[in-house]
C-alpha cells in the first residue's frame, strides 16, 4: 500500500504549534534581547518554517527515500559515473569521534591524526597517478579542473608566456570547456576520429603555438584507451603546452597505467567514482588534483607537509594561486577514499580495475549481438552502444530503453552521451556486480528491444510517477512550494 502522505510537502503537513526539538533552558543570566541587539536588526517574526513533530519528519523523509533508486537497492549500469558499491565500513570510520567532529581551525597539535591521514593520502594519490604533488582542496571534479587550469595559467605567467588556448575533444565532459573558460582560456574543441579517439589530423591542425593545455579523458568517454596518447602528449609538450587528464575513468586503470607515466602533467580524481564515496543524490564529491613537480608551487594552499615527526599545514607558498575553497577541502569524502584504498592495498586496487574491465567486456560481448557498439570489440570499464538502428527500424530510442529498464528494476544507463554517438547508451557495470546480475541485465535489455514500441514510449509504468513534463518545468519554472503559476 502506498503512503499518500509521502507526496505531500512539508508545508502541507505543517500544523502550527507542533515541535520536534526541545532546547534546554538558557543556563546563563539572560539579558533583554533589545539591550544587546538593536531592534532594527531583529526580525519581526520567526522565520516561516514548517511545524512538525519528530515522528512526522521521520515518516516524511523515510517515505521519500523509498522513491529513490540507489546502489544499496538497485543495479546502476551507469556509464561515466561509476556507481559502484559504497562500503559500509567507510561510513562508520568517517563518522568516528575525532574524525567527524574536528574544527578546521584547531591548533595543529590537536589534529596530528587527521593531518597524518591527509598527508598519507596526498602520497597515495601521487603514487596512483604517477604525479608527485597533490592538493586535496578542490570540492568536486570540475572544481579540480578549474583549480588545475588556474595553476597552469599562473605557471605560464611565471615563465613569461601568454598562452590562451585550451583544447578538449568534442567527446569530453562539458565541464572541461566550461572550466577552461572560467580560468580565462579560450576553449577549442577537437574532433573525434571514427574509432572514438582524438582525430589526429584535427588535433595537429589546432595545436597552435599559444596552446596552454590539452584536456583529455583517458580512458575516454567511449571507454577506450587513447592509443595515440604518447604521441599526443609529446606533441603538446613540444609546443610548450601542458596535458591535463580528466580522471573520471580512473576506475579502469588503477595499478595498471599511471597518467604521469603516459604524459599527463595534471589530473583530478573523482573519489566518489573511483574510491567509492557515495553519490548522495548528487553530492558531495571531492576533486583532489595531482601535478608534476614544476607545477607544485602553484597549487592552492595549504598543503600538508611532514616536519620530522610532526605534520603541519604549509601556507608559506608564495607562488600559490591562493585558495579555491574555504578551510581544507571535502575531508569527509577524502577519509572514505583513504579507507577504501587501505581496504584494498596495491594488489586489491589492481583487481578492482581488472574486474571492472572484465565485467564491462563481458557485457559488451553479450550486448553487441542486439545493440551495435560502434567503436570496437574491446573496451575498458565502460562501452557505448547505439540504438540508432532500432530507432530507424522500430522507432525505439535510447531514452525508451532507459525508461523501460526502470520498470524492470534497473537504473537507466547514461543516454545521449557522448554526443558523438547517435542514440548513445553508455553502460558501465563496475567491478562490484556479479555475473548473475549482468546476465539478468543483458536478458532484460534484449527483451526490451523486442517489446512493443508503444509500451516503451510510455515507459516507465511501475515507478512512483510516469514521465514528467520537463518542457513545462522549464517554460514556467516553479522552483518553490508556494510560488507556482498553476
Amino acid at each position: 500500500m502506498r503512503n499518500q502522505q509521502a507526496t505531500q510537502l512539508l508545508s502541507e503537513l505543517s500544523h502550527p504549534g507542533r515541535v520536534a526539538v526541545q532546547w534546554p533552558a538558557c543556563d546563563v543570566p539572560e539579558q533583554p534581547l533589545e539591550d544587546i541587539i538593536p531592534a532594527n536588526f531583529l526580525a519581526e517574526e520567526a522565520p516561516r518554517l514548517p511545524e512538525l513533530t519528530e515522528g512526522e519528519v521521520v515518516r516524511h523523509y523515510t517515505n521519500l527515500s523509498t522513491k529513490n533508486m540507489s546502489v544499496d537497492t538497485h543495479y546502476y549500469p551507469l556509464g561515466s559515473c561509476t556507481m559502484k558499491y559504497n562500503p559500509k565500513r567507510n561510513e562508520r570510520l568517517a563518522s568516528l569521534p575525532g574524525i567527524v567532529d574536528l574544527h578546521p581551525y584547531q591548533d595543529e597539535s590537536t589534529i596530528q591524526g587527521m593531518l597524518q591521514l591527509l598527508y598519507e593520502l596526498q602520497g597515495i594519490f601521487s603514487e596512483i597517478s604517477g604525479l608527485p604533488a597533490c592538493s586535496l582542496q578542490p570540492a568536486a571534479g570540475a572544481h579540480g579542473e578549474l583549480t588545475a587550469l588556474m595553476a597552469a595559467a599562473k605557471y605560464f605567467k611565471s615563465i613569461g608566456e601568454d598562452r590562451k588556448v585550451v583544447l578538449a575533444p568534442d567527446s569530453s565532459h562539458g565541464t572541461n570547456p566550461a572550466s577552461a573558460q572560467m580560468a580565462g582560456f579560450k576553449a577549442v574543441s577537437i574532433k573525434s576520429d571514427p574509432n572514438g579517439g582524438v582525430d589526429m589530423e584535427d588535433f595537429r591542425k589546432k595545436l597552435t603555438d599559444d596552446i596552454a593545455v590539452l584536456m583529455i579523458t583517458n580512458p575516454s568517454t567511449l571507454g577506450l584507451f587513447e592509443k595515440n596518447m604518447r604521441e599526443i602528449a609529446d606533441a603538446v609538450h613540444e609546443k610548450g603546452g601542458l596535458v591535463y587528464l580528466d580522471g573520471a575513468n580512473m576506475n579502469a586503470i588503477l595499478g595498471i597505467a599511471r597518467p604521469g607515466d603516459f604524459g599527463a602533467d595534471m589530473m583530478h580524481y573523482n573519489p566518489h567514482k573511483t574510491f567509492s564515496g557515495p553519490h548522495g543524490g548528487g553530492g558531495p564529491g571531492a576533486g583532489p588534483i595531482c601535478v608534476t613537480e614544476k607545477l607544485k608551487p602553484f597549487l592552492p594552499s595549504p598543503i600538508v607537509e611532514k616536519d620530522g615527526e610532526r605534520y603541519k599545514l604549509d601556507f608559506d607558498r608564495p607562488e600559490s594561486i591562493g585558495r579555491v575553497r574555504s578551510f581544507f577541502g571535502n575531508t569527509g569524502v577524502l577519509v572514505r577514499a583513504y579507507c577504501y584504498i587501505l581496504s584494498h592495498g596495491p594488489v586489491g586496487l589492481r583487481e578492482v580495475s581488472e574486474n571492472a574491465v572484465l565485467n564491462a567486456n563481458y557485457l559488451l560481448s553479450k550486448v553487441k549481438h542486439f545493440l551495435p557498439v560502434p567503436r570496437g570489440e574491446r573496451c575498458m570499464h565502460e562501452f557505448v552502444a547505439s540504438a540508432s538502428d532500432l530507432k530507424k527500424e522500430r522507432g525505439i530510442t535510447a531514452m525508451d530503453i532507459g525508461k523501460r529498464l526502470l520498470d524492470y528494476g534497473f537504473h537507466a544507463p547514461t543516454v545521449y552521451f557522448p554526443l558523438t554517438i547517435p542514440e548513445a547508451i553508455m553502460i558501465e557495470p563496475t567491478e562490484t556486480e556479479s555475473k548473475e546480475t549482468l546476465d539478468v541485465f543483458v536478458e532484460t535489455l534484449f527483451k526490451i528491444t523486442e517489446e512493443d514500441p508503444e509500451l516503451l514510449h510510455d515507459a516507465p509504468h511501475t515507478t512512483p510517477i510516469s514521465r514528467p513534463n520537463e518542457v513545462q518545468a522549464a517554460r514556467s519554472p516553479c522552483l518553490r512550494a508556494d510560488f507556482c503559476s498553476s
Binding site: L10, V57, R89, Q106, G348
Partner: protein, 457 residues
C-alpha cells in the same frame, strides 16, 4: 577484500564469452610502454578490523568533544545535530543514490531538493534558491560571477574587510587574473564604516559584498549598505549565517539581491571543514543565470504532481564553454540534512537556537572581559555568537595553549588572517556550550600566567 563477486570460475566463463584467454589480454589496448610494470607502492591491504583500529588510533591523536570544549568559530561551528538528521540522511536510498537525472526513480531526492529550495527561500526571504553549491566561500565567488554576467554593469567588485578572510582569498584566486578589479574596504572597527562604503561605490561598481553577521560576529547595517549600492545600480551580495536568521532580519528584507551562506551549521558536522553546504538564493532577475542544479515542479503524464531537474540549458553538459558556471554537482546529501534539520527545528526551534547562541556568547564576552588580561576589541558593536578578545599581554598562542592543556579549544588566533591583530582571537559560543564550560574557560584564562609580551618585544 575488494568487494568483488567474480570467482575464478566466473572469470573463466566470462573470458570465454569475450573470446580471450586472460584478463591481461583485455588491457592489450594500452600500449606496452605506457603500462606500469610493478605493483603500486601503497600500504598493504587491511581488513575491516585492522582498518578500524588504524582509524581509531588516528582519531585518538585528535582533540574532539570528548577531550575538549570547542569555542572555535570563524565559519565552522559546533552546533548540535539532532539524531533524526543522522538517522534519515544515512538511509542508503538517499546517500547511495545518483544525481536525479531519471526523475521517475528519484522523486525522493527531487522532492527533498525542491523542499530545500523552498525552505531556503523562506529562511532568507529571497525569490529563488538553487539546490546547493560546494561551500559558503566558493558560493560567494559564484555569486560574483552571476552578478558580473547579469546586466550591463561595470567590473569593479567591492568587498568589505569584515567578510571572511578565506572567502576574500577565494575571490582573489577566481578573479584577479581575469581583469576584474576587487576593492577591499578595510574595517578596523570590526564593522563597516558607511562613509567609506559610500566613497568606494560608483557607477563602475558591479557588486558589493557584505557579510552579516560578519567574520568577527558583528552585525552589519546591511540595509544601509544596500541602499548605497542600489543607488549606484550595484548588486548586493550578502553572506549570512543561517542560524542567525532565527533572530535577525532576512537578507531579502534587508535589500540583498543574492544571499549566500555556509550552511553546514544546519545539521551537518564540522568534519574538519568539509564537505559543507553552499547556500545560494537570489532575486527573480537571476533565474536563468543561477549556477548549480535547480529542481522544478511539474506534472507527469497522468497529471500527478512531480519534480524534475530543470533549466538545464544553463548547465555545462549542454552549453559547454557557454555555461553559466562549470559546476556539475551539488551537495545533495548536505542539502537534505539542512532540510531535515530545519523541519525538526521549525520556526520556534530555530529562533530559540539563535537566542541561546546570542545569550551565551554575550555572557561569555562579559565574563571573559572581566579578566584583567583580556579586553573586548569591538566592544560597542552588536554581535551574534562570536566576538573578538585582545590579550593585553600579547601572547595569544601561549594563552590558547594553556587553555588546550585544560581541555578547551579556546579561540581562533586572528594574527594568521590580520597581521595587525596578532594579539587578538575570536571566541565563538554556540547553543552547545554550557554555563559550566564558559565559567571554566573563564577560570582557566584568568589563571593563565604565560604572560610576557612576545609580539611587541
Amino acid at each position: 577484500m575488494s568487494y568483488l563477486y567474480n570467482t575464478p570460475d566466473d572469470q573463466a566463463a566470462m573470458l570465454k564469452s569475450i573470446g580471450v584467454d586472460s584478463i591481461e589480454e583485455l588491457f592489450s589496448t594500452i600500449p606496452e610502454d605506457l603500462r606500469l610494470k610493478r605493483d603500486l607502492n601503497l600500504p598493504p591491504q587491511m581488513g575491516e578490523l585492522e582498518l578500524t583500529q588504524h582509524l581509531s588510533a588516528l582519531a585518538a591523536k585528535n582533540a574532539s568533544p570528548a577531550t575538549h570544549a570547542c569555542f572555535l568559530g570563524g565559519g565552522s561551528y559546533d552546533h548540535f545535530v539532532p539524531a533524526a538528521v543522522d538517522a534519515l540522511a544515512s538511509r542508503g536510498e538517499f546517500y547511495t543514490s545518483y544525481t536525479p537525472y531519471q526523475p521517475e526513480v528519484s522523486q525522493g531526492n527531487l522532492q527533498a531538493m525542491f523542499e530545500y529550495q523552498t525552505l531556503i527561500c523562506d529562511l532568507t526571504g529571497m525569490d529563488l534558491s538553487n539546490a546547493s553549491l560546494y561551500d559558503g566561500g566558493s558560493a560567494l565567488a559564484e555569486a560574483v560571477i552571476m552578478a558580473l554576467n547579469t546586466g550591463k554593469r561595470g567590473e569593479k567588485v567591492v568587498v568589505l574587510g569584515t567578510v571572511h578572510p578565506e572567502y576574500r582569498q577565494i575571490l582573489q584566486t577566481y578573479f584577479t587574473d581575469l581583469g576584474i578589479e576587487i576593492v577591499e574596504i578595510a574595517c578596523p572597527d570590526g564593522i563597516a564604516d558607511l562613509a567609506k562604503v559610500e566613497a568606494s561605490i560608483d557607477a563602475s561598481t558591479n557588486c558589493v559584498i557584505v557579510q552579516s553577521p560578519n567574520f568577527f560576529g558583528g552585525i552589519e547595517d546591511v540595509a544601509a549598505i544596500a541602499e548605497i549600492a542600489h543607488k549606484n545600480d550595484a548588486v548586493v551580495i550578502q553572506s549570512f549565517d543561517p542560524i542567525s536568521l532565527g533572530l535577525l532580519k532576512r537578507p531579502g528584507d534587508l535589500g540583498a539581491d543574492i544571499a549566500v551562506a555556509e550552511g553546514h551549521s544546519l545539521g551537518s558536522p564540522m568534519q574538519y571543514g568539509g564537505p559543507y553546504l553552499g547556500i545560494m538564493a537570489c532575486s527573480d532577475q537571476f533565474v536563468r543565470r543561477l549556477p548549480g542544479r535547480i529542481v522544478g515542479q511539474t506534472e507527469d503524464r497522468r497529471g500527478k504532481r512531480c519534480w524534475v531537474l530543470t533549466l538545464q540549458t544553463r548547465e555545462q553538459h549542454i552549453r559547454r564553454e557557454k555555461a553559466t558556471s562549470n559546476i556539475c554537482t551539488n551537495q545533495g546529501l548536505f542539502a537534505l540534512r539542512a532540510s531535515i534539520y530545519l523541519s525538526l527545528l521549525g520556526p520556534s526551534g530555530l529562533k530559540q537556537a539563535a537566542i541561546l547562541c546570542t545569550q551565551k556568547a554575550h555572557y561569555a564576552q562579559q565574563t571573559l572581559t572581566e579578566i584583567e588580561r583580556l579586553e573586548p576589541v569591538f566592544g560597542g558593536s552588536p554581535f551574534f555568537k562570536e566576538f573578538v578578545l585582545r590579550d593585553t599581554q600579547g601572547n595569544v598562542e601561549g594563552l590558547l595553549a594553556e587553555a588546550r592543556e585544560a581541555g578547551f579549544l579556546g579561540g581562533v588566533p586572528l594574527g594568521q588572517f590580520f597581521p595587525e591583530m596578532e594579539d587578538c582571537f575570536l571566541v565563538c559560543v554556540t547553543e552547545k556550550r554550557t554555563k559550566t564550560e564558559i565559567d571554566a574557560l573563564t577560570r582557566t584564562f584568568s589563571l593563565c600566567h604565560t604572560g610576557g609580551s612576545t609580539i611587541h618585544a
